[in-house]
Assembly symmetry: C2
Homo-oligomer: 341 residues x 2
């Protein structure tokens, strides 16, 4: 019998279709090919991207936009949102519109096109996290922005148009509804119980153990109870913290081991599948016009985390029409496979 | 400058990235191939599917599950939800679960595997609509169900695993959150103004004309102001009606012309692209235990409609992480192309 499961924070139902349950080897994902050649993100091609806004590794004496970097952050050449201009929020007949003001940056994670984040050394992963954190901090000072998403598309079927390893950072001028819905639930839970709903969740998942992929001193890696997709995986910090950029040096070091190891498990279990990875963090909490006390207990009630979605199944009419998802692999099975991978 | 637009009913933002704007010919969708062979849904293979629950076209004297049908509805052989059993709603630690009770049926739209809904005659489309309506009515009598989605996946990248032309009907035991959110907005609008928000929207879209693909006596075909996807298209009835199955004979005839013509425009403009089509209708409104007066003014405030989503772009980390969508074709451009196609 299939099982309907509800995400406790998102109010989203999924169908765990256990009779359709499959082993990882039953999926035939097209393995993401390794890019062994040069790309527009390769050293020596720095003039093919917009001028860099951050880099790690190059001597302070060297010229900007020259080679010698380990990680390099540049504005997206074809940005979804533009960094200049006013928001100009306006009514258009019955509709609401706003200028597409925002930031869209590319984190080039390594000089080598063939390098893979799943194989990153602690130092390499640390550099990438450092780039994420620094750019998040700088962008959060722009008063026009409300929310910043750091994400990674791996493989063309996961939306990556350039195969050289990179992540993206997009700052948007409104808080997404799907985050607001989560914040509302987290706030209500905190008001009622004086505890973070994420803390309750993580503790009970550890006690159960059934969906745990890995637990270490600072992080818990698990397959969510109401996973939308086969092998969906979330990394939670054990310490209550709403803001990803407030990670401690010790946590950063632990994440530099935990995140590549988690990606490696997925790579091993599923033959290097395409995936999307998103760092889900709180909206920018420094006061914006008209919202000085808007965020309330967010530091206590919301917790940042990293979602990894292997892209093995199609999103189709049923999912678009209902917001329900059909997942042919139970998270318990997925966690077991990933633990052993 | 890109533009941020908010859907007036869904509170969902999209980025219309006009600087990335492209003509239909700039998309290179893989044209959905025509299936000229036999399939498990072909006449003569009736024993390869579960026993039919509805058919049109066969003589009353002929045996069930024999050939001679024009449209045939069968339970899905690999159902996402099971028709038997109790719901058994229960708490699992901090989570909510329910048995995966529901219905999952396949509407085989035509005996010929090579036939296409975009080329359907009025009579053929009328038969398919008749099958949708009859099965929706029968399933809505089951007290365990709350919502029924009728949808169509066209092409393998849109999730179709069998290419013989078919639609699917899924009945679920809970009302999806994304529909509840819309119902809440529609109800609040009605309380404030005594008008349907859908009626207001359709009227203003007709007045503007910019996003209208076609208007006839009974239906309006338009590209929504906050389209998530390039060439996203919605068909609204002009008459206020929350329940798709309550369509009049005259409306059914008009829809039998309007829907194939709309699909044909998309087929012509975009080289036979994959798409998802969903009939969005009200939840089952006959009272269920504990909700005798739950639906209030739904007959006046919500309006059924048909969404068509051509699948030309990838959903990636940004969309999963924020619920925002980036659309490289403005709905005004899309409507203009479709009007001329």
């Amino acid at each position: 019998m299939p099982e309907l499961r509800k995400d406790p924070i998102l109010d989203r139902w999924v169908i765990i279709a256990t009779e359709r349950s499959r082993r990882p080897s039953d999926f035939a994902p097209t393995a993401v090919p390794v890019n062994t050649g040069e790309s527009v993100f390769s050293p020596g091609s720095e003039d093919k991207t917009p001028s860099e806004v951050f880099q790690i590794g190059r001597d302070a004496s060297a010229a900007a936009n020259s080679s010698g970097w380990n990680v390099r952050v540049v504005p997206n050449k074809f940005p979804a949102l533009h960094p200049d201009g006013d928001l100009d929020s306006r009514a258009v007949g019955p509709f609401d519109a706003m200028n597409g003001v925002g930031a869209h940056e590319v984190v080039i994670e390594n000089p080598s096109a063939a390098w893979d984040l799943a194989d990153a050394s602690v130092e390499e992963m640390g550099n990438v996290l450092e780039a994420y954190i620094e750019r998040n901090k700088v962008l959060s000072e722009d008063e026009r922005f409300r929310y910043i998403l750091t994400f990674r598309n791996y493989g063309s079927t996961a939306g990556a148009s350039i195969s050289h390893p990179h992540s993206q950072i997009i700052a948007v001028p409104v808080v997404p509804k799907q985050l607001k819905d989560q914040l509302d639930v987290a706030k209500a839970h905190y008001r009622a119980k004086r505890r973070s709903i994420y803390g309750d969740l993580v503790r009970q998942e550890i006690e159960s153990g059934a969906r745990i992929v890995e637990e270490n001193q600072h992080f818990v890696v698990l397959c969510p109870y109401a996973s939308r997709f086969p092998f969906e995986t979330t990394i939670y910090p054990k310490r209550q913290q709403h803001d990803f950029t407030a990670i401690t040096a010790e946590e950063k070091l632990a994440l530099s081991e935990t995140l590549p190891r988690t990606l490696k498990r997925i790579k091993n279990a599923l033959n290097n599948p395409p995936y999307n990875m998103m760092i889900q963090t709180a909206p920018i909490t420094s006061p914006r016009p008209g919202q000085s006390d808007y965020w309330g207990t967010i530091a206590e009630d919301y917790r940042w985390h990293i979602d990894i979605l292997p892209r093995l199944t199609q999103v189709a009419g049923f999912e678009w029409g209902t917001g329900f998802y059909i997942n042919p692999v139970s998270p318990e099975n997925a966690a077991e496979f990933l633990r052993d991978s």
